[in-house]
């Protein structure tokens, strides 16, 4: 064990302001670790991730000849990159840096200060133990294929494609529909400006179609993605090929998911009569009716061809409803106001908005709300319980009308409002393609089933997988400006890789110790990436490090202990474990 004592470890305990120091006695943690073998210094500091914090690490590496660093702070998923970079700037191999998560896993989830301090001490001891056995790992680089695949050609995909093509890189767009533009091609106007969709969208579509950097595959879907950041191989399938299995293969460096949304199936919520009663429409069906190229030429008409004299607009149908979708779909309040404005503009009908809350949080939205309500749109606070065609003869309700039954929560009484037409502002849900795309790309979805971003605040356009980005309603309900902003964000994140042209490959992959391999081939059985081949001549397994993703399943399976999972070696894990239990 001479090696054990030859290391020079610097330990840093972060206060994270009061995020950690409020619950953990950081000085006690540093003091407890200072006498551990191999530890040269242990300091606590207000914000380790700040410039002065990082500078301190760099200076100490030079001054004290530190060859291992432990930073006890937040999650490594948050700042491991930061400290690896700082270490390598001071000449230390980035894999000789270890983090101990004493914030997300300790100070934020523990009330008792003594318990939190104890837990932090063992966590830091474990990190010190682990880093002793860390080895420098050479980082190889690979070139980045100068192209991007965009899945989905709605407004999000279109914006991302234009940004990337304008920067000079090749874009492939795959769209399952026979046209590009997505859901907004079904709409007539946009809130709150009431501009025509065609005026906004057509120039963008023309730009796409006339840009020789952009190749659009309509009626296609991606069926298989292999490889990793910088070097993805994508198979796409022609959906009209009638089983003739015409497949194309594309090489791309990055992937942007813009798979968009679908509307929640409102026939599942029977009490509003959708699919059962005439003149009950979803918001998107009403949008289609208002288009000049729509079924009524843009006129608002009942099924019998007459103009309605009153229209009820029901908010939050399926949204904010624990039986359906718990979340707020964010756009329904505003498009419902838009519908009221269009009804006012094109008919003499009265409009009633039944709402829980009006969420008018965007630029110009509150002003729009005021305008619509001041121009005669009626607003009733209360969620509708039922829409029925059973009129109450005693109440003088007109024959053939739809009765909206709701509780007016301002008056605190049940009301019945007879109308000629009902528009349901239904919930947005992830596109039905999301299931397939998730399985194809192995990326996560949040509890609302939209794709999950790498960090809800700090990395909204990235997925947890390098080189795969997200934008638009694939990530969560949002309106057009937010979609465009996120699409440009995703494009610029993808461009960062495309512009660099090279990407560092994660060296934490598995390697075979040829001298110990018995040739049992168990590792080949468990490898999901076909990364392990077999050398018949020497009767040993061989790992292709370009294909290996570093899951370590082979290492845990090898009965001869001949496979090492680099950076997650048995030694590193077992010594970490012993550190965690060192208070026994």
């Amino acid at each position: 064990m001479s090696e054990k004592n030859s290391v020079a470890i610097g330990v840093y305990v972060c206060h994270c302001g009061t995020n950690i120091a409020g619950t953990v006695d950081v000085e006690a943690v540093a003091a407890a670790i200072r006498e551990e073998p191999g530890v040269v210094l242990a300091k606590d500091y207000k914000f380790m991730c700040s410039d002065p914090g990082q500078e301190m690490v760099k200076k100490d590496i030079e001054e004290y000849g530190l060859d291992r660093i432990v930073v006890s702070a937040c999650s490594p998923l948050m700042h491991e990159k930061t400290f690896r970079k700082a270490a390598s700037e001071a000449g230390l191999d980035p894999f000789l840096v270890q983090m101990a998560n004493i914030r997300e896993h300790c100070s934020w989830v523990t009330k008792d200060k003594e318990e939190a301090t104890q837990k932090s001490i063992v966590a830091v001891k474990a990190a010190v133990n682990r880093v002793r056995w860390a080895r420098p790992l050479p980082i190889n680089t690979a070139t980045v294929e100068p192209s991007t695949l965009i899945v989905g050609a709605g407004i999000a995909g279109i914006q991302a494609a234009l940004d990337i093509a304008d920067a000079g890189f090749k874009v492939y767009m795959v769209e399952k529909q026979d046209h590009i533009g997505g859901h907004i091609t079904m709409m007539d106007r946009v809130f709150p400006t009431m501009e025509r969709v065609n005026d906004l969208l057509n120039p963008k579509i023309n730009e796409i179609l006339n840009n020789d950097k952009i190749q659009v595959f309509t009626r296609h879907e991606a069926t298989e993605v292999t490889g990793s950041v910088g070097d993805f191989t994508v198979k796409i399938k022609d959906l009209d090929a009638n089983g003739a299995s015409v497949e194309n293969e594309l090489k791309v460096g990055t992937i942007i998911l813009a798979t968009g949304y679908d509307m929640y199936d409102l026939s599942q919520i029977e009490q509003f009569g959708y699919g059962r009663l005439d003149d009950v429409y979803t918001g998107i069906e009403f949008e289609q009716m208002t288009r000049q190229d729509g079924p009524t030429g843009g006129k608002i008409l009942k099924k019998n061809g007459e103009e309605p004299t009153s229209v009820a607009i029901l908010h939050c149908i399926g949204s904010r409803d624990e039986n359906h979708c718990e979340y707020c779909s964010r756009v329904c309040c505003m498009y419902s106001l838009k519908h009221a404005a269009i009804i006012k503009e094109r008919t003499s009908a009265a409009s009633y908005n039944f709402y829980i809350d009006i969420r008018a949080f965007g630029k110009g939205h509150e002003e729009f709300y005021r305008k619509v309500s001041s121009e005669g749109g009626r607003f009733i606070r209360g969620k509708v319980g039922q829409v029925t065609d059973l009129i109450d003869p005693e109440l003088d309700e007109p024959e053939g009308s739809l009765i909206v039954i709701a509780e007016d929560t301002n008056l605190q009484e049940m009301i019945r409002v007879p109308v000629d037409m009902v528009i349901l502002a239904g919930a947005m849900i992830p596109s039905e393609t999301a299931d397939r795309v998730q399985k194809m790309l192995r990326i996560s979805r949040s509890t609302d089933r939209f794709f999950q971003e790498r960090h809800p605040k700090l990395a909204p356009t990235e997925t947890a997988t390098d080189g795969i980005f997200l934008c638009g309603t694939a990530q969560g309900p949002k309106d057009i400006p937010d979609t465009i902003a996120q699409a440009s964000g995703a494009a610029s994140a993808a461009l960062r890789l495309l512009e660099q042209g090279v990407v560092e490959l994660d060296p934490s992959v598995a390697v075979v110790n040829a001298a110990m391999c018995t040739g049992c081939k168990m590792c080949i059985e468990v490898c999901a990436y076909n990364a392990i081949g077999f050398n018949e001549r020497w009767n040993i397994a061989e790992i292709n490090s370009n294909l290996c993703k570093g899951c370590g399943t082979c290492a845990a399976t090898c009965r001869a202990n001949a496979i090492e999972s680099q950076h997650f070696t048995d030694k590193q894990i077992v010594f970490e474990l012993m550190g965690l239990l060192s208070d026994g």
Partner: protein, 144 residues
């Protein structure tokens, strides 16, 4: 239970789903037992059965393993291999005198911070119920 020592639990979490879910429990300030200590592994498939034995040998009172949900594994199938191995380990542990209550395998996704908080608390209670029973694997002499 005030006079008995709090049991110590080791949790092996895959980085992509469960560790991220545990981080989310943290950012959401949900309670997590303070006697749970975490080791991050790339995939639950990385967990060598020997790590579990080693944990009990070092005096752990319980071991929890959590990976991505079936079908969601970042590495396609590592979680399924983990589940198979752990099923065998559990029986083996029982055979050497370690109660099955001391080992727990679960799936927690990156968005399931609340489930993480719940599962870990439940498991801590479960371990507490058997923690006073002898652990025949534990080394008797205390490491110096």
């Amino acid at each position: 239970m005030s006079d008995t020592k709090e049991p110590r639990i080791v949790g092996f979490l895959c980085t992509w789903c469960s560790y991220t879910g545990a981080d989310l429990a943290g950012t959401s300030r949900m309670p997590v037992p303070s006697n749970l200590r975490i080791i991050r592994v790339p995939c639950s498939g990385r967990i060598d059965p020997l790590f579990i034995f080693k944990a009990f040998q070092e005096g752990a009172d319980g071991v929890m393993v959590s990976g991505c949900h079936p079908g969601d594994c970042h590495y396609i199938s590592g979680n399924l291999f983990a589940k198979r191995k752990l099923a065998v380990i559990k029986r083996l542990l029982e055979w050497v005198g370690i109660e099955p209550e001391r080992l727990h395998f679960t799936w927690i996704s990156a968005s399931e911070g609340a489930q993480y908080s719940e599962e870990t608390s439940k498991f801590a209670d479960q371990v507490r119920s058997v923690a006073d029973l002898p652990n025949p694997l534990a080394r008797t002499e205390v490491m110096s």
